[in-house]
Structures are given as structure tokens and as C-alpha cells.
Symmetry: C3
Subunit: 382 residues, 3 copies
């Protein structure tokens, strides 16, 4: 059985100096913390993982393929992805060079997979799928109350309007359960695909299809150029007239071009009708009133560059996200992130790296979201 | 160390169309649901697992053997068997062709192991160790109240009498912890064995031996014929006079015969004094009054067939279980299951399969237990 | 990828007969229990584990190394170390024969690692890092109240003063998270090292540095002689004047000498200002008043011997610990342990073993801590 399975993985750890925002509603506001983080915790080469994968040739150009991939935190040894054993990937499928690939199981979403086109590190040191906690200290909350925005008459209301985790780029949790995916063969550089993450809800009218992930994608690669586009959303039940049944509608597009001395990246993403997780999986009601959705529209873009310098690689990107928050009568919150990173290959499998990221933002100058991470790390792939 | 351990496993996923019973006490009554299930969730080739196993020759015909086998759900990546790491099997032992095998650790019960003799799929597509949730909708519960059975004067009492999960065949949870097992050598086709799953309770009178699993088995194989028999029970403490100290007494017997074009299977199982799990592990009292046991007797039988057709295999079985429920004054609930299945070998390790199962039952025609599963799956062994 | 990682592990199980102390505050007082235990549960060859490890030569005498090691209980299949996936070790590092080793991640503490010098079984059959639950039955508690010790006027106060788990030798939980360690090269038999387990607390005054593990060590090996010494503590925040900010200060020293027919071992450990876990990780306050520390001083020593007799090895040790308990006005509780053990190598990888351990103690003759374990086990390494 040894020959039919490949054991693989990565251990990635970094020493991180982290500075919290000055005006957040937390005793740590403005404070700095030194941590030993797993590579997936902040912005290392990638989260630590181990896995098993295999390919079996079935003849006629068809192969059976599987991946079972477990995520964990090297700093504590704990399982990642909510304690799942194979939380990163767990799927089996059939692959044909002429018919395409079909896979069943827990799989990565297109907004994660297509970061290949617009993120120089492909979800590593310059990753965009980060969640930023925004909260208001008392002074900031009082200043918002003083603005007289309808519905925001108390500090508690001001905080409720904006306190949450904001995704710089939407990612649908990076992976979804119960996914059936199809990816086409390569047609002269073109590929397309579709996937659905079953909601597993009974079919009746009062508990219909709650929380089905669905996405389509297309990509094109030709010489130094590569581009990808996707559309994803979460489909929930629709019983009340006028209720919204298609949430977190996310359109993503990006491309990169390799000039030889450097590869440049650009990406754009627009998400409409953003619900939070508790709305999507709510058992009490499987429909979401438009007024209860938290963000009307999120518009994000990014530009980046990757420069190879012998055994060094230097990476950088900039991202900007604007959130039109419903509770704030259309006022927008803006987050910006800059990442500067390098890595040095001690070998093909072992890398030393450093990353600096900083975030800024504005909310009528009231919300401080500045956070800085400076880290030095070591990643070993096996 | 690589040469001393074999890494192995299986990923098994299926797309399932499930239809709930029409009269169950649940909003999903009569509804259908589409799921992506792990092979172990309904009736695939078998639950997804990965493991490590090894054999070391110690000389003198003695070998050291071990298996560490982890169950998980490929659709979500989550650990199975209540989150255990090696929930399917975790044992080490010594094996001698002349003296037999002794093993220590978490091991499979005889009612699971001996399904080899009476289940065409050996706990796979036609498996019998399934748990059926039976509940009463309001109309059914009221009809039972109207019968005037002693002790059943309200809807709540009617529901309490029958609402629970019914095992088609008793299986003692498939595995038990803290098991010491002995299996004899093969004596001209005969083998016998015994195992005990220690309760690990202190020895005193008020907390004596609660929940010890114990079983004995024998089997005979000769050419196309194979048969097995076992007796298992859960031994609990006995302090109160007249209390029951031996629960879930299960006698199982079955055989199969390979006619070449087909193998036919038959099995019979009788369980007396069925307690539920909370009674067995109760810390408050380690003795169970006979009147509080939930099922007086359960009698189950099954017949089945397996037909090889080139790369196809067709399997079918039928099972019938009768439960004499104490709270119902001796009235019986009957469950019946039909399974029809096929699988097609893409290779020795990769299989496409389909299964259809349906359940029927009666309880003075009041309890609807009909449930149907139709599924199409892919299993890959590594 | 197969060639870059080694899969390894051990399954170790034993049948244990355990006798509880006669005067503990528990229904099981004086009772005996038979269990199937994992080797790590009592005193087997060592806890069951599986892991992956690898070494990559980076040139210039430098290597990349990693270990991911998972602990589990073979008797139930459950994950150990609080459910962590790789709870025993999870680290990556660089190793140089001339510059030394640096490692990042979850690592073993020096008080565990240096048991190599003073424990004949190196944390196995004669292990010293055991936790002994001490409690008072009503008669013992009343007798203490009768002594008229200041602050101990009720049974509840008597119990509160001494009821807890006492470590025979301090071990800092065997492993710590977020550890950065450095170990020197071998200088003519000398090695030294330092490690720090980051507290990951914000830097401000009111929540400063809570619970940082820190240790230094040195060792010397020359022919038949080996010795090691270490100092470890938990550094917490210090805001209140006079509060204690350095807890569980543990000095350990030990050595062994191999006379050929036997190796003899001796070790000594002194711990001051012992806090319990809840004090160290307290979020409410990160400073500990000296008066709230539970043990003023703990002084432990041990002597041991290991005798090879062909395929047999016989091991024995004795340990004594004295605890100066603050709540008792300086009165001391003493625990003593004797371990007698043998193991027999069926092969280099498979071992049958037996261990007998017994504990005694006194607290003005009022506290009974006698507990006996007799066990017979089988361990297989792969």
C-alpha cells in the first residue's frame, strides 16, 4: 500500500511582532505583542499541514485522484479548521485529460483558488483573504453618536453598526463542505469550472435550501500571461415575499504578467448583499430580509509584484476595500493594506522569510484599523 | 522506520437522495434531501479511513501486530467515532499460528466482525448495523392514546414509549474501548474467540463493574461454506435484589454458501433485556431494574445474495426486526429493510457504486418508518 | 515526497491493577480497579504516539529538521494532550554541528528532557513526572481541624489547604507552546541550552507578560558518566508592589554512571513559589501575591538503578518529595514513591514489561496517599 499514497506536508513558524490599532475597544489598543505564530496564523509561506495524496491510472486516459489534507498550528500542535482532522481538503475524484475533472468532498473555493492570478504569494505572505477586526473605543463611538446619523443615538448602537470582522477579500471560508466540482480540460489555455457545496436541507417550503455555496470560474493562460474570473454566492431559502435568497454575491477577476525580471499582479472583487455566518446558517428562518444584510456592497482591488533575485524573492502588494454599511445609511468604511515581503531559499524545500504588513483605514476618521505585523519565519516542506 | 509501517486508507463519497418517513414528528416528515455523504454515513463501500498497520516477525512463529485506524468524513474532513483520532481500531497484539492471537486496545465487536457471514457487503452497501430513528407525529400519537393501553394516556407518554433509535441488528457500537481479545488458531476450519471490554470501575459494592462488554464467538469455514456464531452482552453492577446485571444479551448466528454464480447469506439475531446507553453508563446507579429496560426482546433475521458479473457485483438483502417494547405492554414494533446495490470496479482499488434501500414497518399501522436512500458513489482505496 | 519524511510511532498498552488510598475523599477509597491503560497513562514504556520527522541537508554543515508527533491513547483511540493533533511535539528548526540547533514550536521542557540523567527509564516505567491527587476523608479532615492550626477551623478549610494534585517532580506540563529553543554544539562533552515559551501577551502595564515559560540547561557526558542541570520558571506580569512575578522556580540536577553491570542514577530538584495553573493563566490579574501561592518550597530527590540481564532489563528507583504548604503554616506534606520494573525485549522493537509502583506519605499521619499500581504490558515501536 506504501506505493499508492504520498505523505507530504509543511511546518511553517514565524516570530511575529504585532501592533494593535490605537482606537479599538480593547485593553490592548495601541499595544504590541510578540508571538510565535504558525505560518497560517499571520502571513507566512502558508499554514502548516500534512496530508496524503494519490493518483491511480485507470486506463483510457482516466485517473482516480484523492487528497486528504490536515491543517494544524505548529506553535501549539492543535488541529486547524475548527478541529477537523482533514480540514484543508478531503476529496476523491476522477480525472481525464479529455473530459475534465470531477471531485467530491471538502474543497477549496474559487475565491481562494483564483488568488493564484492576483496575489503574488498565492495566499501566503501577501495574502488578501484576511479578516480584520474593527471596533470602536469610547471616544470614537461618542464622536459617531454626535454626528446624528439616524438610528445611531447611543454608543452601543454606534458599536453595533461597525463592530465585526471585515474580510479584505471575500473568500467563503477558503473551503466548503459537501462540494461537487467540475473542471474542464485545457482548451488552448482556457479552462472553466463549476462547483456546488450542497446545503443538505430538506426540500420543503419552510426549510428550503439554506446555505448552498455555488460558484463558476474561467481562466486563461498563455505564455507569460494568466487571468482568472469567478462568480460565487450563497443561496438560501426564499419564503417571505421580497426576501433575499442569494447572498454574498461575489465577482472576482484578476491577472498577472511575467516580464521576466518581475511578475505584476492586479485583481478586483465586488461583493453584494453580504450576510454574516449566523444569518446564512440560521435554523430559525432560512430567508434573509434585505434590510438585515450587513454590507450593501464591498468593492476591493489589489495590485502586486513579485521579483526573483537569485535565491531571494521579493514580493509586495497593496489592497483597498470599501464597505457600504447598511446600518450607517450608506456611509462607507475603507480598509487599506500594504504588504512587503521577502523569502530566501535555503533549499527547494526550506525557506527563511520576512513579512511586513500594515493596515490603515478611515470612517470619517473615526475608526482606527491600523495594525502592523512584522515577522521572521522558517518554513520546511516535506 | 518506513519499512515497518504501512500507510493505508480509503476515501468514499456518495451523492444521496434521502426520503424521510411521512408520519415522523419532524418538520422534514415526507420531505426529501440531497446530500453528499461519506461512505460510512449511509450505505457506501465503507466509511472513509486512514491508518497505519505493521507486522514484525519475532521468530518461533510469533509476530507482533498492530493497527491504528482513524475514521473520518470525507464530505467535511471531520474525525469520526466521536472525534477520536484512531476511532475505528487502535490495538497491539501478538500472533502465533499455533497458539492464536491476543490483542489489546480498541477493537471491533463480534456482532460487527461476524457480519462477514450474513451480510453480502460485510458492513458496506447492504449493512445491517443501522440505527433507525422512530418518532410519532401528532396524529399517530393521538391514535395510540385512543387505544387505551395502560400507562399511555397522553401524547407525551405515547411518544416516550417508542421514540428512540432502533438498531436493525445489535452491534454494541461497532467497537469497544479497553478490549482484550483472544482468537484461536484455525483448527481444520474451526476458530473460536473471546473478548472483554473492561469497565474500569472500582471493585466495591456500590460502584461495581458497570458496563463491561463481553463476547464469545466461533466460526467454521470449509470450501464454499462459512458460518459464525457469537454471544455478547453488557455486564453491569448488581446491588438491588432482583435487578438485572446482564444487558443487551445478544445471540447472533449466520452463514453463507458460494454457489459460484452467486453467494447466498442468512443470519439470525436475538437480543434480550435491551438497555439504552445512558442506563449502561449511569453513574447514579450501576444497576438496572428489569422494568426500566426498554426492549424485552428483539428478534432479527436477514437473507442476502451477492452475484459477480465480470467487473460488476450485484448485492441484495432483506432484513426484518421485531421489538417487544416494555412500555407498550408487550406490543411489538416491526422494521423491515430491503437493500439493492451494485458496484463496478474501475480497478482493484477504485469502485463506482449505487445503492437503493427502503424501510417499512408497522406498529398497529400507526408508526411510519419508511425511509428511502438512493445513492451513487465513488470509493478509492489506498 | 516519500523519501523526505519518516513515519514512526509506538503502541503501548498494559493491564493495570490499581489500588486507591484508604483515606481519600472518594467513594473509591481503598478500592482496587482493573484497567486497560495506554503506556502513557500509568507507567508503561511510554505514551502511544505516531509522528513524522525529517532531516534535509542544506549544505555547509546545516540541516533543516522537523518533528510532528501526535500522542494518543491506544485503549480508546482518543487524542492526547488535550485533544491536540500533534500534542507531543510540533517544531521545525535548523541544526549545525558547529553553531548548534535552533527550533521553533511546541517543544519538551528541560525538566522532562533532563530526566534522561536521573530516571532509569527516561520518563517510562520509573517516571517521576507523575501527578498525585491528595484529598482528605472526613475523619482525616476533622483530625486536622482539631489541631487548631490558624485559619483551619472547618473541614472545608482543611480540605482546601491540601486537596490538589501534587507533582512528584515538577515538569511544566512536559511540553510548552510557542517555544524558541537553542542548544549548543557538543564542546568536549559539554552542551548548554536555553528556551523560552512566549506568553503572547500585550506589552502594556496592566496585562504584561503573563505565563512565559523560560529555562536554561547544561549537560556533560564523558564515557560512562552523564550529568545535567537546569533552571526553569514561569514569568508573569508584575504590577502590584511586592507581587511575585517569577513562579515555579525549579532547579533540577542529576547524573548517572554506567558501571557495566548496572547504571546508577541520582537526581535532586527544588521548586520555590509554586502557583497552580489557574493562577498562572489568570486573565483577571496577571500578578500573583506571594500569600496566594500554594507551595512555599518543594524539595524532591531520587535514586535509581538499571540492570541489563540479557534480553531482560530490571529498573528500580525511589523518590521523595516534601511540600511546604503555605495554607498550613509551614507544615510539610511528604510523598514517597518506589518503582520496581522489568522489561523483556521480544525484539528491538517489541517489549513485554511489568511495573510495580507504590506511594506512601505522611501529613501528621493524617493524609493517606498510598496508591499501588501493578501492571503487565506490551509495547511495539514502529
Amino acid at each position: 500500500a506504501q506505493s499508492s499514497v504520498t505523505l507530504y506536508g509543511r511546518a511553517d513558524l514565524n516570530l511575529t511582532h504585532e501592533k494593535a490599532g490605537d482606537s479599538i475597544n480593547n485593553a490592548a489598543a495601541g499595544e504590541s505583542t510578540t508571538r510565535l505564530n504558525d505560518g497560517g496564523g499571520t502571513t507566512g509561506i502558508g499554514g502548516s499541514r500534512w496530508g496524503m495524496r494519490g493518483v491511480e491510472d485507470l486506463g483510457n486516459g482516466i485517473k482516480a485522484v484523492f487528497i486528504l489534507e490536515s491543517g494544524f498550528a505548529s506553535d501549539t500542535g492543535a488541529s486547524g479548521q475548527g478541529g477537523r482532522l482533514f480540514g484543508r481538503q478531503a476529496w476523491v475524484g476522477l480525472s481525464s485529460s479529455s473530459l475534465g475533472d470531477i471531485r467530491f468532498g471538502r474543497q477549496e473555493t474559487y475565491s481562494r483558488l483564483n488568488a493564484l492570478y492576483w496575489d503574488p504569494s498565492f495566499n501566503g505572505q501577501t495574502k488578501l483573504n484576511e479578516s480584520n477586526a474593527v471596533s470602536l473605543d469610547a471616544a470614537t463611538a461618542n464622536a459617531i453618536v454626535a454626528e446624528g446619523i439616524p438610528g445611531i443615538a447611543t454608543v452601543a448602537q454606534a458599536r453595533a453598526a461597525v463592530t465585526r470582522n471585515y474580510l479584505l477579500f471575500q473568500n467563503f471560508g477558503d473551503r466548503q463542505d459537501n462540494v461537487i466540482s467540475y473542471t474542464s480540460p485545457n482548451f488552448s489555455g482556457f479552462r472553466f469550472g463549476a462547483q456546488i457545496g450542497l446545503s443538505e436541507q430538506p426540500s420543503d417550503a419552510t426549510a428550503d435550501v439554506a446555505g448552498r455555496y455555488q460558484g463558476v470560474t474561467a481562466s486563461y493562460t498563455s505564455g507569460p500571461f494568466a487571468a482568472g474570473v469567478s462568480y460565487e454566492s450563497i443561496k438560501v431559502g426564499d419564503v417571505a415575499p421580497g426576501a433575499e435568497d442569494d447572498l454574498n454575491k461575489t465577482f472576482s477577476i484578476g491577472a498577472n504578467y511575467n516580464f521576466g525580471f518581475a511578475t505584476v499582479y492586479a485583481g478586483f472583487q465586488k461583493t453584494s448583499d453580504v450576510a454574516d455566518g449566523s444569518q446564512i446558517t440560521s435554523a430559525a428562518t432560512n430567508t434573509v430580509a434585505p434590510s438585515s444584510l450587513i454590507i450593501e456592497d464591498q468593492t476591493s482591488y489589489t495590485i502586486g509584484v513579485k521579483v526573483p533575485l537569485g535565491k531571494f524573492t521579493v514580493l509586495a502588494n497593496y489592497a483597498n476595500a470599501e464597505y457600504e454599511i447598511r446600518a450607517f445609511g450608506g456611509e462607507e468604511l475603507e480598509l487599506r493594506k500594504v504588504a512587503l515581503a521577502w523569502n530566501y531559499s535555503l533549499s527547494k524545500r526550506t525557506t527563511v522569510y520576512g513579512t511586513f504588513t500594515t493596515r490603515s483605514g478611515d470612517f470619517d476618521d473615526n475608526v482606527a484599523v491600523k495594525r502592523e505585523f512584522t515577522l521572521l519565519g522558517l518554513a520546511h516542506t516535506f
